[in-house]
Symmetry: C2
Subunit: 173 residues, 2 copies
């Protein structure tokens, strides 16, 4: 099966953006030239998948900064077609089946809503969580409430001089 992987930065209270969608706190905390393992991770994935909110944050970039990898955007209101981007509204299980049939070995899942939907479907294989030393108090959540518990296995912990910490987990099956 296609491996489905999360790599996302969040505050200690698990927000991925301020309530107004801003990522300024992340730029302030992590804009030090360190990439927190991003390039190394990106090199291992065939494709990216994200929700519409995440896509809209990067849609102005041309080309998209993913080395030509296909991007799947979950949305109920598809914009104009764009080369290399698939706008769809598949359920997680259907999407995973499509990726498997396409031959993707590893898909990078981004965005709180999409990650939570895939967790609810039992379809996430591993998570690399970059924890920013900040309690934001309010904002857009990384984890939405879902009726499914997911046991994890700690793969590694990597603190950085900036105070950010990478926590790496595999989902226990």
């Amino acid at each position: 099966m296609t491996r489905i992987s999360v790599f996302i930065a969040s505050t200690i209270d698990n927000f991925i953006a301020s309530a107004d969608g801003s990522l300024q706190w992340l730029l302030d905390a992590a804009g030090d030239g360190e990439d927190y393992g991003y390039d190394r991770f990106l090199a291992t994935v065939d494709a990216l998948a994200m929700g519409r909110g995440t896509y809209d944050h990067i849609a102005h970039l041309d080309p998209l900064p993913f080395g030509g990898r296909p991007v799947y955007v979950f949305t109920h209101r598809p914009p104009e077609p764009r080369d290399g981007v698939v706008f769809w509204q598949l359920a997680p299980r259907q999407a995973a089946e499509h990726w498997e049939a396409t031959g993707h070995e590893r898909v990078y899942l981004d965005g709180g809503r999409v990650i939570s939907d895939f967790l609810a479907a039992g379809l996430v294989d591993d998570l690399l969580l970059t924890k920013v030393p900040l309690l934001l108090g309010d904002g857009l959540p990384l984890f939405h409430r879902v009726p499914v518990a997911t046991p994890l296995r700690l793969l590694g912990v990597e603190p950085f001089p900036s105070g950010l910490v990478n926590l790496s987990y595999a989902v226990s099956r």
Copy 2:
């Protein structure tokens, strides 16, 4: 001023109990004889403070397992008086002033609602967060939404063989 410190275990999605109040997942994950720094931490505090929900979990214990340290319980519905336990409904600022006047050097703050109220008041000095390798999906939250951001400074990271990780932060003033 009295130092006000948090030490609490939570899942990766920041739940401190299941939706029904159960801590079985914590016992399953952390019931290995390791104390995750608890005794060392407890030795540094003069008093404990918690909400009514947290207190009700331990109220049946006699004596309370805190070495005779005074316990402050924030509640609007005080039960029968109990030696060594103060039931009150002070605001965080008033409580901190009381502790300062009492001469407490360090108070151990426990329970999601109380921790969040003290964060909202800017009155937390440090947090030791024990992260359990589990996404619970739903439950009682560690961090309630508050209108205040709290910048943190990473003090240390300690992974344990069980897969739990202690993250230690001081609040940046």
